[in-house]
């Protein structure tokens, strides 16, 4: 309960935290209402499916439940919970059959959550919303109690009758107490509302271990492949660039030495060229080193490094970075690589007039998005840097989403796990 301690220790943050929690409780209650309406629909579908006429409805229903669960997952992540997506396939359609979908433990866990959230989650949410309203109503009660009809002259949500002036004066006292309760209790209520989701929406802790091992093995293989690709890239860059330059220097110096006696002026010319070539070689070495782990990242952090990228971009580019702590170096380097590749694409292909880079740390995941108002149509298949982005992000167990309809705009979203 570190959050509660933090709240008590810093009194300026208390009201802000209560407001934030109530906001999330409202969001949670909205999802709860959707869940509540979904319950009877599910029941009808189940009954109809039993008599076979409901079969076409079943998969869309399950997909809708997943949509709701995903909504709750994103809410929980914003609240700071780490919720991994438990699904193995991208969609319910990937399941071979309805029976398969129902046998899937994730579907059953989603359905249990749906029931819990439609009842418990909704009630807790309503309580959290009710508290501040009750507090305001009761504190101001003496001002207006005479104007309402006698059968409504009550305080504390109608639990105590207050039809006399002396009774009405209890209102503000009760209101302040409720307000204090709200201040302290709102984050707690928010936690209570989140509990079913936290317990049920992540991967099942008892799930078949071999499946998780298989998934990890696949991502490790992707990581190794990404490393191999990276090494090949570095090898090529070194060979085609710096190494050739340095061999060139050896040749030029050899030629110059032969000319020293025969024609000193010519020797000097050749040496000048050799010097230029060494400088080129150094520049190329620096470029290669930069591409491995950009020193700018080391010196100026992610925000500074991304700003530098944006200012180098030929398209005007706005950068927003909301990352309070530093992430692991490999995650930062990957985020940097993603933005660098994306901005290169923007400058080369998009014909955009402006671009925007956003990087946020939410719930232990680094969210990177690069958008532009260009002509769209970006496709990983036609050799742009997108395939490279995909490989490198996948190696970090991250996700890439590219939205780029013909005519634009293009948006590249990347999520990277940033846990220590």
């Amino acid at each position: 309960m570190s959050r509660l301690n933090a709240v008590v220790s810093d009194d300026r943050r208390v009201p802000r935290e209560a407001l934030r929690s109530t906001g999330y409780a409202v969001y949670g209650a909205a999802i709860g209402i959707l869940a509540l309406y979904t319950l009877p629909l599910l029941l009808i579908t189940a009954v109809l499916t039993l008599v076979r006429v409901g079969r076409p409805m079943a998969l869309p229903m399950l997909r809708w439940v997943r949509r709701l669960a995903d909504l709750e997952r994103s809410r929980l992540r914003r609240l700071g919970h780490e919720i991994e997506s438990p699904y193995h396939g991208p969609d319910v359609e990937a399941e071979p059959s309805l029976r398969g979908a129902l046998a899937d433990p994730e579907t059953r866990r989603d359905l249990s959550w749906l029931f819990m959230h439609a009842t418990w989650g909704l009630i807790v949410g309503i309580v959290a919303i009710q508290l501040p309203f009750t507090a305001v109503r009761d504190i101001t009660y003496p001002i207006w109690w005479t104007t309402i009809s006698p059968d409504q002259q009550e305080i504390l949500n109608g639990t105590v009758e207050a039809a006399t002036w002396s009774a009405a004066m209890i209102g503000p006292i009760a209101g302040v107490a409720v307000f204090a309760l709200w201040l302290i209790g709102a984050p707690k209520l928010c936690e209570l509302q989140a509990r079913p989701g936290v317990n049920l929406l992540g991967p099942d802790p008892d799930a078949d271990l071999s499946e998780r091992v298989a998934r990890l093995t696949a991502t490790r293989a992707a990581a190794l492949d990404a490393h191999a690709v990276e090494l090949r890239r570095i090898e090529r860059a070194l060979h085609d660039g710096a190494q050739n330059r340095i061999v060139g220097v050896a040749v030029l110096v050899g030629a110059a030495r032969r000319e020293v006696e025969r024609n000193p002026e010519r020797a000097d010319e050749i040496l000048a060229r050799a010097q230029d070539t060494v400088e080129d070689a150094l520049a190329e070495l620096r470029a290669v080193v930069r591409s491995i782990l950009p020193p700018v990242l080391e010196n100026r952090g992610l925000e500074g490094a991304l700003s530098a990228l944006a200012s180098d971009c030929s398209v005007p580019c706005k950068v927003t970075v909301d990352v309070p702590d530093r992430c692991p170096a490999s995650v930062e380097a990957t985020a940097y690589f993603v933005v660098a590749e994306s901005l290169t694409n923007v400058a080369k292909h998009s014909r955009a007039s402006r671009a925007e880079v956003e990087v946020r740390l939410r719930g232990g995941r680094l969210h990177v998005s690069v958008t532009d108002d260009g002509r769209g149509g970006a496709d990983a298949a036609n050799g742009s840097g997108l395939a490279g982005i995909g490989r490198r992000v996948e190696a970090h167990d991250g996700d890439v989403t590219v939205t780029s309809p013909a005519g634009g705009p293009t948006e590249i979203r990347v999520e990277l796990p940033c846990g220590s």
Partner: protein, 215 residues
């Protein structure tokens, strides 16, 4: 001596031209890719071709393939292959077509102009010039059941210098031994590698090939 250069890197192409012209060679064409190189060989009929291993389009072994092709069309053409790194399979590919008038050197050797010119002239005269680095790597990978394992360290040393293309006198000078001793070592090498004296093939070339091919 008329020379055609094939090297895709502009700087190195020009540097090579600079060195060779400075030494009085006649560089009749400088090309940047295999097709242009083969066309230039057809057109100019040079004495020697100086060819880079990595060339477009894939930058793997286009240079070797082009050199082998040029040699098939013009067996009298001497070829000196330059490589940025040691890859003995390239050397053996090249030598499989015959070891006369073939050289394989690391690119930076061009900077040691005296030695480079000497190697070039040796290749042009029908000899061989194999980079000491390549030779060392071939020895390092030698299998234990190899007939070459029967050679004494000194004999191996003589063979490796022989593989670079040096004659008896030069070998003696390099290893600080008498020419007579060199002669004795070489006779032992031939014996241990089962190269009979009445054979019509050039036993020196055969010995070098034996040890390059079994890599």
């Amino acid at each position: 001596m008329r020379i055609v250069i094939a090297e895709d890197d502009t700087l190195l192409r020009e540097g090579l031209g600079l060195v060779l012209r400075g030494e009085g060679f006649d560089v009749v064409a400088s090309t940047g890719g295999p097709e242009a190189f083969l066309a230039a060989v057809e057109e100019h009929r040079p004495d020697v071709a100086v060819v880079d291993v990595r060339m477009p389009p894939t930058h793997t072994d286009e240079g070797i393939k082009a050199a082998v092709e040029a040699r098939r069309a013009h067996p009298e053409l001497a070829v000196l292959v330059l490589s940025a790194y040691v890859e003995e399979s390239f050397a053996t590919d090249l030598l499989a077509e015959g070891a006369k008038g073939v050289g394989y050197l690391l690119k930076e050797r061009v900077g040691r102009v005296d030695a480079f010119v000497e190697a070039l002239q040796r290749v042009a005269a029908g000899g061989t010039a194999i980079d000491p680095e390549v030779v060392a790597q071939l020895f390092a990978q030698r299998r234990s059941d190899d007939p070459l394992e029967r050679l004494t360290p000194r004999e191996k040393e003589v063979l490796s210098v022989m593989a670079e293309g040096l004659g008896n006198a030069a070998i003696a000078q390099r290893l600080f031994i008498t020419e007579n001793a060199v002669h004795k070592h070489i006779r032992n090498i031939f014996f241990k590698l089962d190269l009979a004296p009445d054979d019509h093939t050039d036993r020196r070339v055969a010995a070098v090939l034996r040890y390059l091919e079994s890599a």
